[in-house]
């Protein structure tokens, strides 16, 4: 015996007094009474909406008991499920319900993949552009780039003098070297240097030394015309640089940096 506890729904046939659609031992609810009058009732027009279709579902607390003690089962006939007509949404190839969908599978899938693939390419490009815009907004802005080059009149710097300019937020040392300074630096044994570099490799015109005045140890600004090597001395931790900006003594690991520069030829120097 199966005990069915739920709201009626489409289980009504099983609970009617006069009809037994399943051979079971379900007791009739009440004894059958023959109808004496023929009553004609127009058939109910059932609209297939989500709401009306959902009424076919059992609702409430549906419980079905089954097990060793039960001898029968009830099956729903799935052939009576009403499905709305979706032909307005179907593709041309599969409009006909009897058409073999596998035949048009390739063309249908190709179209879908093409559209999705194209959309993905456009989307990827758009995403890349968007991220690129945000990231590049953090890069140097136009006013910073405008100060990225400096032009110096070399005629204003006397021989033997080292002048400091602010360039890209850092001190720039321009030294007008004397012939004896140049000779001294050319004669230095390169192999004895911590950071071996020949003076000729560090200057374009031997008369002008162009270096960035930031100590390569921990970033302090060295003092010009100081130290034991006729160049620069960093007071923070005692690094000595020569007149070519090379480290000679002290904790700094590298020579003072040489930036990009050029002599356009009219007695000026452009750095950057």
């Amino acid at each position: 015996m199966i005990n069915i506890v739920s709201k009626s729904g489409n289980l009504a046939p099983y609970l009617k007094a006069t009809t037994q659609t399943v051979a079971s031992q379900i007791k009739q609810l009440s004894p059958a009474v023959p109808a004496s009058l023929k009553i004609v009732v127009p058939p109910v027009q059932e609209l297939h909406t989500n709401y009306s279709l959902s009424n076919s579902l059992p609702s409430g607390r549906v419980r079905v008991l089954s097990g060793p003690g039960v001898t029968t089962q009830v099956r729903f006939a799935h052939t009576d499920i009403q499905i709305p007509d979706f032909s307005a949404y179907r593709r041309k190839d599969v409009q006909d319900g009897t058409a073999v969908s596998r035949r048009s599978e390739d063309s249908r899938k190709s179209f879908t993949y093409l559209v999705v693939g194209g959309g993905a390419v456009v989307g990827a490009y758009a995403a890349k552009t968007l991220v690129g815009e945000f990231v590049s907004s953090m890069s140097a802005s136009a006013d910073v780039l405008a100060l990225a080059k400096i032009e110096i009149k070399l005629g204003d710097i006397p021989e033997g003098k080292s002048v400091t300019f602010k360039w890209r937020g850092k001190p720039l040392f321009i030294r007008h070297r004397t012939p004896s300074e140049i000779q001294t630096e050319r004669n230095v044994d390169v192999q004895s240097l911590r950071d071996p570099q020949h003076d000729a490799d560090r200057v374009q015109d031997a008369e002008w030394l162009v270096i960035i005045g930031v100590c390569t140890h921990l970033g302090c600004v060295p003092i010009a015309n100081a130290g034991d090597f006729g160049g620069y001395y960093c007071p923070c931790h005692g690094s000595h640089y020569d007149a070519s900006g090379r480290i000679r003594r002290g904790p700094a690991p590298l020579n003072l940096e040489v930036p990009n520069y050029e002599f356009p030829g009219d007695g000026t120097l452009i750095v950057g």
């Binding site: 989500n50 709401y51 959902s54 815009e133 945000f134 953090m138 802005s141 006013d143």
Partner: protein, 352 residues
């Protein structure tokens, strides 16, 4: 399955918030919240910073899009009776207040004439509070007038508030997911659910594309269409512009504020014009929404048009005939909230 385009505005608001936070964050990297440098820093962003111009215009116009979406979202909720989801609705009104506060604070930051004088006018409203008004205003200002101290704290608060809005939005969704969404029929839709992916993922993406198109068109073709030319003049505490007015999205509230001749009364009306939304869940009806209440539908559209007309009035100078027009429209606006529940009750009784 029957939720219409009006249900897209929730996700659109989320997108707006993310866009505002992203653009705002990158703007904050270049902005300087000091009265000496604020105006120039905004010019620097627009001219020197790589893509700064688009960051700025997207952020300014994004705020307008945010308010368009939020007003349409609220309109949908009133029309379809979604305010019956009390907790979701209440958090939503809080989000509206927080968004209005954030937008107000943000508008002060460029430190143009309208930024300064808008800040002065609105912060001066606090002096209407009885007894503690003056002390309260000076505490908010950090001085005796809107000045550097005000600008720096407004920047800090403008940076902070969107994250509070994001948190509130998450709570808003939390409550919404307890009950599920409403739908245009106002009926229970438990048997009619479809998976979020792919249906509403795609539907939301369509909404994003439309929003992005609108925002881009505005930002790229007419970026200053909705802004005030007075804000291109650096703030001058000694010269007040002839027409002080807030941005478009605050105009209706500004019109309501100016309609009441009394200072404190105007402030109360301003706050109540938004806070009255808290009262809506108390309006009971047999059916959810206005689908079956044609009289209420008519009143809703009258109210919507009243708000649009109030927006127009807010931009007009305080002269005849705009004064009395504004007062009539203010009355109509508040009358909607009083008449609606009565109409609903009457209609329900008629249909008994």
């Amino acid at each position: 399955t029957n939720i219409s385009m009006w249900w897209n505005f929730g996700s659109l608001l989320g997108v707006c918030l993310i866009a505002q936070i992203a653009t705002g964050l990158f703007l904050a990297m270049h902005y300087c919240p000091n009265t000496e440098a604020a105006f120039s820093s905004v010019a620097h962003i627009c001219r020197d910073v790589n893509y700064g111009w688009i960051l700025r215009t997207m952020h300014a116009n994004g705020a307008s899009m945010f308010f368009i979406c939020i007003y349409l979202h609220i309109g949908r909720n009133i029309y379809y009776g979604s305010y019956k989801l009390v907790h979701t609705w209440s958090i939503g009104v809080l989000i509206l207040f927080a968004t209005m506060a954030t937008a107000f604070l943000g508008y002060v930051l460029p430190w143009g004439q309208m930024s300064f004088w808008g800040a002065t006018v609105i912060t001066n409203l606090l002096s209407a509070v009885p007894y503690i008004g003056t002390i309260l205003v000076q505490w908010v200002w950090g001085g005796f007038a809107v000045d550097n101290a005000t600008l720096t704290r407004f920047f800090a608060l403008h940076f902070l508030m969107p994250f509070a809005i994001a948190a509130l939005a998450m709570v808003h969704l939390l409550f919404l997911h307890q009950t599920g969404s409403n739908n245009p029929l106002g009926l229970k839709s438990d048997t009619d659910k479809i998976p979020f992916h792919p249906y509403f993922v795609t539907k939301d993406i369509v909404g994003f594309i439309i929003l992005f198109t609108a925002l881009s068109t505005l930002s790229l073709k007419e970026p200053y269409l909705l802004s005030d030319p007075d804000n291109f003049i650096p703030a001058n505490p000694l010269v007040t512009p002839v027409h002080i007015q807030p941005e478009l999205y605050f105009m209706f509230a500004y019109a309501i504020l100016r309609s009441i001749p009394n200072k404190l009364g105007g402030v109360v009306a301003l706050v109540m014009s938004i806070a009255i939304l808290f009262a809506l869940p108390a309006y009971k009806s047999k059916f959810t929404g206005t689908q079956f209440y044609p009289a209420n539908q008519l009143m809703f559209w009258i109210m919507t048009n009243t708000v649009l007309l109030l927006t127009w009035i807010g931009a007009r100078p305080v002269e005849d005939p705009y004064i009395v027009t504004g007062q009539i429209l203010t009355t109509i606006y508040f009358m909607y909230y009083i008449i609606t529940p009565l109409t609903t009750k009457h209609w329900d009784q008629l249909n008994k």
